[in-house]
């Protein structure tokens, strides 16, 4: 007699685990935070890119159309703050992207597989890419603040 197949419980983590930076509560993983932020900023930038193509198409319709859409952003405080947030998103996605291209495409900074500690430790976590991530976090933060000073300064808020 064939064995009766038991009813299985679907236990897939789903988006709840996918977007939870603290899910495997084993050791704090900066890479998981970076992955989630990279993904969210990526979606944001892709949507922004389409909007940007639409907005800049107003240049072709003459000075009036361009100035109308620009002043609607400049006069709105949310527009200026939005530009600042956008700048932060670009900086993060770009700098973290450099790290990812180095690690994923060129295998740089993920550690040497031949280095074996006893007990074995994950080399990729302690590899140079982790140090690079922190350097980029600091640089990115500085760039974000500088961008904010320029943006808010020109808006007359500082």
């Amino acid at each position: 007699m064939p064995r009766k197949k038991p009813k299985l419980l679907d236990n897939r983590g789903g988006l709840r685990h996918h977007l939870n930076p603290s899910y495997p509560r084993a050791r704090w993983t900066a890479e998981r935070w970076a992955f989630i932020l990279h993904r969210l900023t990526g979606i944001f930038l892709a949507v922004y890119l389409l909007a940007h193509i639409f907005v800049t198409s107003r240049v072709a319709q003459g000075q009036g159309a361009w100035e109308a859409i620009m002043s609607s952003i400049e006069s709105n405080p949310l527009g200026v703050v939005g530009e600042w947030i956008l700048w932060g998103v670009i900086v993060f996605h770009g700098l973290n992207g450099i790290r990812l291209v180095l690690a994923e495409a060129l295998g740089i900074g993920v550690g040497d597989p031949r280095k074996l500690k006893v007990p074995p430790e994950p080399e990729s976590v302690y590899g140079k890419q982790r140090a690079l991530l922190w350097i980029f976090v600091v640089l990115g933060f500085i760039a974000w603040i500088v961008g904010g000073i320029i943006l808010f300064g020109e808006a007359g808020w500082l």
Partner: protein
């Protein structure tokens, strides 16, 4: 197209975008221009379009590929296999439409 080819282009456009976007952003800062708002005045924007057609077109195509392929990666994971293929086709269509629209702007202004 092989998935590795797609991903290779994804990394190449990523590297290209880092360089081009750095330039694109610096164009609107006091480093290369007088200021952010000034650089966005109509005459200055038109001047940019006239002088840097190639850079802008390259930026447009690289960013569109990189962005939409990034969305595709997410959709492939979230959606089941069959819907993933449909999403790919939809994103290619969006990409072609946006590339046409953007090219039109560059050609018309310049």
């Amino acid at each position: 197209m092989k998935e590795s080819t797609v991903q290779l282009i994804q990394y190449l456009t990523a590297a290209l975008l880092v360089a081009l976007l750095a330039y694109h952003v610096l164009q609107h800062t006091p480093v290369l221009e007088e200021g952010y708002r000034v650089s966005l005045e109509y005459e200055n924007v038109v001047k940019h379009y006239a002088n840097e057609r190639t850079v802008l077109a390259l930026l447009l195509y690289a960013a569109l590929f990189h962005g939409l392929n990034g969305l595709r990666a997410i959709l492939l994971e979230v959606l089941p296999s069959s819907a993933g293929k449909a999403a790919t086709i939809l994103l290619i269509l969006i990409g072609i439409a946006a590339a046409y629209f953007g090219t039109l702007t560059i050609v018309e202004v310049a």
